[in-house]
Subunit: 145 residues, 2 copies
DNA sequence: ATGGCTGCAAACACTTTGCATCGGC
DNA sequence: GCCGATGCAAAGTGTTTGCAGCCAT
């Protein structure tokens, strides 16, 4: 419940309007841990049959921008392929798209298996800036400021 | 180089044909760590201008099936949304789709930052079977066998 | 009342599929 | 020669965008 009110505050703070559609989507998101856009639309239609899928996407993207929700399960929107090898970490640079492989030194399997979870595949991506891009960005923001 | 030969063996073992297109894609994959289908197609065209994007997709999907390559950056092909909270691990059940959240107890930030990588966001998914589905599958395979 | 928000539909990007032809086995 | 693999183009998905009207502020 609190999450919903906080989100409304964030909307107003950003000078955005609070529409019935946004309230509805907020409510749906707050009470469902993991949904994709289509599912959200389907649920929303029950309450508000005229709501469009475009609005769902626009609203989700707004919410993500405001930090209300987070998108997961999607990296750069399409698949990359690599020759198969063991579990590893990907360091994905959100600036230049560079992908750095690391062998996984963390005890993930043990961790998950303590939950009774049987791991088939590990996918870990740390999204951020590689050394070079971080420095570039620092230099630029120094200029801009 | 060995990877290429092993892949050819896997093709033959699976009763699949070794075509120039497949050889070419294998070569490209072996010498490039991370490519998407379009990039692979673009590179392949330099060598074999008549190769089609459809063949690239079909071949990648075959290779993935054979375990020659692995697709990454794609989960269930589209994004899921959840109300934002701190970094966490997702345990994704590949059977029932259930997603279990865990607070992240692993020192990922430290690890990546030692590479000079500045993390903006952590995404970790351990794909496998949750306790219930693992047991269900065990029971079934016991029956099948 | 005015500008942001909406629905609708068309556009988009990536991937898959149907069909006739081609070529590895 | 047979059947699988290919190229081409069209269809399919999930997502984004242009536009005219609408409604929260």
């Amino acid at each position: 419940m609190t999450a919903r009110l906080r989100a409304i505050g964030q909307l107003r703070a950003a000078g955005k309007r609070l529409t019935p559609e946004r309230e509805l989507l907020l409510e749906i998101l707050a009470s469902n841990p993991h949904l994709d856009a289509m599912e959200i639309h389907r649920i929303a239609r029950k309450e508000e049959p005229r709501i469009s899928l475009a609005t769902v996407y626009r609203t989700l993207s707004l919410f993500e921008e405001l930090g209300v929700v987070r998108a997961c399960g999607l990296g750069e929107a399409h698949a990359h392929y690599e020759v198969r090898h063991d579990d590893h970490l990907h360091l994905v640079c959100s600036e230049c798209g560079r992908i750095i492989d690391l062998p996984s030194p963390v005890p993930l399997r043990k961790l998950a298996e303590s939950e009774g979870f049987r791991i088939e595949r590990i996918r870990l991506e740390l999204i951020g800036l590689c050394d070079a891009c971080a420095k570039k960005r620092d230099a630029k923001s120094g200029k801009d400021a």
